[in-house]
Amino acid sequence: MPKMTAFHPRLEPLNETKVWKNWSGFLVAPQFKYSLTNEYYAIRSSASLLDTSPLFKYRISGSNSVRLLERIMSRDIKRCKVGGAQYTVWSNENGFVIQDGVILRTDEFEFYLTAGEPTLRYFNSIAREMQLDQVTVEDVSEAYGILALQGPHAHNVISQLSKDATDLKYFDVANGKLGDADVIISRTGYTGDLGYEIWVPQDKALTVWDSLMKAGEGYNIAPIGTTALKMARVEAGLLLMGVDFDSSRFAWVDAQRETAIELGWSWMFRNLEKDDRDFIGRRAIEAEIKNKTSRWKTVGLEIDWHSYEAVHLEAGILPPKSDLYRETTMSIYRRSETPWEYAGYATSFLFSSLLRKPIAIAKLPLDLTGEGTEVDLEVSVIRKPVNVLAKVTSLPFFNPERKTALMGGGK
């Protein structure tokens, strides 16, 4: 029997499709409305509310918490201020990514982390290995629910209920009150839009949900499911574990593992020479940088509309467009004299209703990753493989000013 999140009693009647799927053992709605595109536009045009409670949640505290996180995380936790958040990864000794996640620093020695897969024992085992006392890693997965409030009107909604969100800059965090609930609010999200994520104690889940939905009514707030979220995250260039990469923890061979640099996160190591931490995977990452041994680079692909349309029209059909989001691997070839010369692959594909064209997240060998490089992407047209022209572009595809704009006025 799947479990239900703390918000489920409210979600159940709102799901007009009555379709549910399993996310880490919890029931979640892939979509609430029949019109997926409309649901998606709650994120880009009004305000959306998403239950992300199935994420694993950890509280790391104690005077040695920073030391532990310095060792585990590939990105330097010391660069995360109190009241700030960090998008980070943890890697194995060979520099391969185990997981990514967002960590919130609510106090000098108090951190909250979300993760796609369980990591309690792993963190504790590192603490034991380091013989660290004064650090506690708690699994608080079921103590909190998390709501993502995302969209251009997100601040208009939350500011009716709490003044604590207004001064948050992008990736800031605050302990605050939402009605009578003690919550943690972060200016973060997985949509690339203006938005907040709110950690809510289980027993306050329904009242917080109700108050947000009520405050959002005049802004057409809509509950959204995981598919609309995933469509938005492709536009935002945000990778999804299990789709765009796999955890190296349960991989069989290195071909299934990827480094943070291969995944496009080399910016996390910009200050590596000034960073004296002995973090797990450091030597491998340094060697990768020094010897340029990255096998891939993760890039965006913009599929040429004319080419995409033409291959379908030639076959006598219309290009499939609306509501099209795929997580299946698609092959990419070099445009050369030799046909079908394999080069790499796309992992997430979306016909972006917003950008009016198909886009994809892809892995390509380094010589093909320059901005504007042309490649062939294999699509299936009436069950036959056909190549369409695509151009390499940097991520994200969509990055509105409102995502990072100050809400409280000032600069």
Binding site: S35, N38, S45, S353, R356, K357
Partner: protein, 532 residues
């Protein structure tokens, strides 16, 4: 004359086709100027804040997606093009029955099956057939049509090619095209459906903006045209542009400027300047002059051929054709600012029923009666209404919790036999309000503001002759080879360097941008030939 008044191309009229045309010309490197008579661009696609916080789409109110190649070519997404898809279509009758159709085909089957199980199946067959018809006609919509009056070998070959193409279509597609051209919408619908609500819902597409009833020949073609318009890979993909249709033309204006074009508002063009049938520029009502070897009129055919230039300088055949070209606007708009959503008995507190088109006109007979008034030179006492509460889709249209409702009204003939529109304006508003009240009791108490737009207002404000929303009827003898006149359907005019790009040219009305794009294609092709 100062250098600053010299351009490569001047586009007269900043409606959406004028802007599309100008953006293409500017993109190709031409120094392009758009001259708009009013204080804002957009033509009939504008948004105005008539009451603080309430955005009114005074005229055009919804968008069927522009051809994606235009969106790509002009990078409209980068400039903020954002079309919010409609969720539902709601068609109530007077007895509390209704059809509520949405995005899910299976749910729609069961909804229609409440009225007729056979109709629920028929609609799938008919929709698929219409999809195939639209697909077959797509090349005709997306290309400059051949000139049937020319004996140029290339044109003769194009006409022969067209004939072959049509003859090569699959027989059921050909037969359906014949039906659309030769039958009324009602005739076709009788063949497929038994439910009045279903028939009326579809038939309304056959009368929109046109002086035809659902039982008039011609309504078949108007219906088909609306399917073509909404045809963009996904059937029924109509939407509201963020901020109303004025939001869309603002995006187009940004594209024009981004490509280096210039837009001048409050610039009323009085005449095109030409000598020996060669255009050299335009003169404004203010007396200012601007010069360019290419001048494009985005106005309707009557203004293009009788106002901006002298008919005396045109061949008689063209002048006669333009004289006969039918405008005869029959549509009005009544827009409301509302304190709350209307309520349908039995579906109270259901915001979703308003998230799309609300179609008031529950039977073919109802629509036909409304048309009988029009034929008699009166506005319909019981009009057909296409209502959109845009604020249910786009919260930025109103203050939170309030609503805006745009109602397209049929029929409101431009020529009233026993009165005039300045006398009847408020009466029309009352009739529309009373009709809505019949379906949604208590509607009147929600009204904060009412805007009434008669065909005369459309003509006065937008400049569309007789208030015809398509810049000329979408009748077979005014389309494709004949739009706006036989022999002059390729955007050129008898005056060299003077072109036309409004909705009165192929492929015609609605916010689709085709005329603007194809005219630009013709102009750029001609310029290239001149170089060679």
């Amino acid at each position: 004359m100062s250098n600053s008044n010299n351009y490569d191309a001047i586009v007269i009229g900043g409606g959406h086709n004028g802007l599309v045309n100008a953006a293409y010309l500017a993109k190709s490197g031409l120094k392009t100027l758009v001259l708009e008579r009013r204080h804002l661009v957009g033509g009939a696609a504008i948004t105005e804040e008539l009451v603080p916080g309430f955005k009114f789409t005074t005229f055009s109110y919804a968008i069927s997606l522009m051809r994606p190649d235009i969106v790509q070519d002009l990078r409209l997404a980068d400039h903020g093009m954002l079309v919010l898809p409609l969720v539902n279509t709601f068609q109530p009758d007077f007895n509390g029955n209704y059809l509520l159709l949405g995005a899910d085909a299976d749910a729609n089957f069961h909804e229609i099956a409440r009225h007729s199980r056979e109709d629920a199946e028929s609609i799938r067959d008919l929709s698929h057939l219409i999809d195939r018809v639209c697909f077959a006609l797509k090349p005709l919509m997306d290309n400059i049509p051949p000139n049937a009056m020319s004996d140029d070998p290339a044109e003769l070959a194009a006409m022969a090619g067209l004939k072959d193409y049509m003859a090569g279509l699959e027989p059921d597609v050909q037969a359906m095209i014949d039906k659309f051209v030769n039958c009324s919408a009602a005739e076709i619908l009788e063949e497929y459906f038994e439910s009045d609500l279903v028939k009326a819902l579809i038939a309304s597409s056959g009368i929109i903006g046109s002086k035809v009833g659902p039982r008039s020949k011609g309504s078949g073609l108007v219906w088909l045209f609306h399917k073509m318009g909404e045809y963009d890979g996904v059937l029924g993909e109509w939407g509201f542009h963020k901020g109303g249709n004025g939001g869309f033309t603002e995006v187009l204006a940004k594209a024009v400027v981004a490509f280096g074009g210039t837009i001048l508002t409050d610039a009323d063009v009085d005449t095109v300047i030409y000598e020996n049938a060669v255009a050299t520029g335009v003169r404004l009502a203010s007396g200012d002059e601007f010069f360019a070897p290419t001048v494009v009129s985005a106005l309707d055919p009557r203004r293009t051929f009788t106002q901006l230039v002298s008919s005396d300088d045109l061949p008689n055949s063209l002048t006669e054709a333009i004289g006969k070209y039918k405008f005869q606007g029959t549509a009005a708009k009544v827009n409301f600012a509302l304190s709350d959503l209307p309520s349908f008995p039995g579906l109270e507190n259901r915001k979703d029923i308003f998230m799309g088109f609300t179609n008031l006109g529950p039977s073919i007979d109802y629509l036909e009666k409304a048309f009988a008034d029009c034929e008699a030179g009166r506005y319909s006492k019981k009009p057909f209404l296409d209502c959109c509460v845009q604020s249910t889709i786009d919260p930025d249209m109103t203050p939170p919790g309030k609503h805006i409702m745009s109602c397209f009204v049929m029929y409101a003939p431009y020529h009233l036999s026993e009165s005039d529109w300045d006398t009847e304006r408020e009466n029309l508003g009352d009739v529309v309000q009373a009709t809505i009240e019949e379906f949604f009791p208590g509607f009147g108490s929600l009204i904060l503001h009412r805007e009434i737009v008669t065909p005369l207002d459309i003509e006065r404000i937008v400049g569309l002759t007789e208030g015809n929303i398509f810049a000329g009827e979408l009748f077979a003898d005014q389309m494709f080879l004949n739009r706006p006149a036989p022999g002059w359907n390729q955007y050129r005019t008898p005056i060299s360097g003077y072109y036309q790009c409004g909705s009165g040219t192929h492929p015609g009305g609605c916010v689709i941008g085709g005329p603007g794009k194809l005219a630009a294609q013709q102009i750029l092709g001609d310029l290239k030939n001149q170089e060679n």
